[in-house]
């Protein structure tokens, strides 16, 4: 593959980040009735009624979000390739970032699938609907460590890019890397969703839902911004170097 085509794919992959962000908020968040999300303290009957009253939206939201969440994959793939360029021969952090990103997609997909299952027979046994809803929320809220590792690996790799920093072209500024680490550890209170049904640490609470999800999407936005900026810089550099090469090749 020539460099121009490769760079085009890289830009496309980096743009999948914002595309993921928009589709995730719209399908998973808004159509899926997750803003605000159902409280774990709802009774089985109340929860079943919630599905029955918003059935079309919820079904469409989660079915499409299971497809659109895969936009996270090309984004992670590009990110991993870029980290590999920084790391050189032993891309430990790049691999960790890739595995973490891929598993994040599976965690989000499984939880959305459980909610799609809950919406499949809304007139059925309310306790089964509650069980499927609980399963979805506990899967997505308790298994965040894959994403934490993905983000920390990314931040550490960019922070260690001495060559990029010396050249004035790091993938992200240092403050963004530290913010990434903070966002990654902001998920920890979500472990309390396994125990609590009310308050800020329940799965509909500020500390286990709104704040960590905001941090995750905030990181996604910041990282995408710097990634797209980085690819565009590399496209410009590639164009100017090929222009100078063609000038040199011209006979005097």
């Amino acid at each position: 593959m020539d460099q121009k085509t490769s760079l085009r794919f890289q830009l496309l992959s980096a743009c999948c980040g914002p595309a993921f962000l928009v589709t995730f908020v719209f399908f998973w968040g808004i159509l899926g009735n997750n803003i605000p999300n159902p409280s774990p303290s709802l009774s089985a009957e109340e929860l079943a009624l919630r599905y029955q009253n918003n059935l079309g939206e919820i079904r469409l939201g989660f079915i499409i979000s299971m497809i659109s969440v895969c936009l996270y994959l090309p984004w992670c793939s590009y990110l991993s390739a870029r980290l590999q360029q920084i790391e050189g021969k032993f891309p430990t952090l790049a691999n960790l970032q890739l595995i973490g990103g891929a598993l994040t997609v599976m965690v989000v997909s499984f939880s959305a699938c459980f909610w799609a299952i809950a919406a499949f027979r809304p007139e059925g046994n309310p306790e089964l609907i509650q069980f499927a809803t609980d399963s979805g929320w506990l899967i997505i809220d308790l298994q965040y460590a894959c994403t934490t590792l993905q983000m920390v690996a990314f931040a550490l790799c960019v922070l260690s890019d001495k060559k990029g920093q010396a050249a004035g072209t790091p993938l992200m500024p240092n403050w963004a890397c530290y913010l990434t680490i903070f966002c990654a550890v902001s998920f920890f209170p979500a472990s309390l969703t396994g125990v609590l049904k009310t308050g800020p640490f329940a799965w509909d609470g500020v500390m286990s839902y709104y704040f960590p999800y905001f941090c995750w999407l905030c990181w996604e936005t910041i990282a995408s911004y710097f990634m797209i900026k980085d690819v565009r810089r590399r496209i410009r550099e590639s164009k100017s170097s090929s222009a100078s090469l063609s000038l040199e090749a011209q006979p005097a």
Binding site: L159, N174, W175, C177, Y178, L179, I181, F182, S186, F188, P189, L192, V195, L196, T198, G199, P200, F201, V206, M207, F211
Partner: protein, 200 residues
């Protein structure tokens, strides 16, 4: 000539005054972390406002001696860290190493004290599910305790660095970063202690 020297020393002084201790990233982290705790403190106060009787009766069941001793332990450890930074700047490697060991020991003492306090509560069948006050008590102090554990790991790393004399006395950025984080852990406890144990 002397005027020139004065200007020169003034600019050096200004530089010293403007110097941000540690890495800028640590300050990003500290600001974000303090914001989260700020939100948590606000949520606690809202919860307290909604159920003042339960919060007050539960607060009275806490032993303020534990909170007071923990405050003293953390203040002492912060003092040790300040002395360690000062010792490194004065190129007294041994002193820095001993002060860091002191700060680390204080961190361990805090963890032991917290473990005893938690055990007492659990033995009385009080958990984070008992009521909203204890939910906040266990989660806030638990999250703070995780910060203490992380801080102790940092202090241990700094101790090894001080022993190997790899901290640059002219620019002890890593040490200052660790110290900044540790002071934040201390400050958070100084706010948590009155909030949970003392506010009537």
């Amino acid at each position: 000539m002397s005027a020139e020297r004065d200007t020169c020393s003034l600019s050096v002084l200004e530089k010293k005054r403007r110097h941000l201790p540690g890495l800028e990233g640590v300050w990003v982290f500290v600001t974000a972390d303090m914001t989260v705790f700020g939100i948590l403190f606000a949520l606690f106060m809202v919860g307290r406002d909604q159920d003042p009787e339960i919060f007050e009766s539960s607060r009275q069941s806490l032993n303020p001696d534990f909170g007071g001793v923990n405050t003293l332990i953390l203040l002492t450890s912060s003092w040790f860290v300040v002395l360690a930074v000062d010792a490194v700047k004065r190129k007294e490697g041994d002193g820095a190493q001993h002060y860091l060991a002191g700060a680390f020991a204080c961190g361990v003492a805090f963890m032991v004290s917290k473990a005893i306090e938690y055990t007492q509560k659990l033995n009385e069948n009080i958990t984070l599910l008992t009521n909203d006050f204890y939910m906040y008590y266990f989660t806030l102090t638990g999250i703070h305790l995780m910060h203490v554990v992380a801080g102790n790991v940092v202090l241990a790393v700094l101790w090894f660095m001080a022993r190997a004399r790899t901290i640059d006395p002219e620019r002890p950025t890593v040490l200052e970063s660790g110290a900044t984080y540790w002071h934040m852990v201390d400050l958070l406890w100084v706010m948590l202690f009155p909030l949970l144990y003392l506010v009537r």
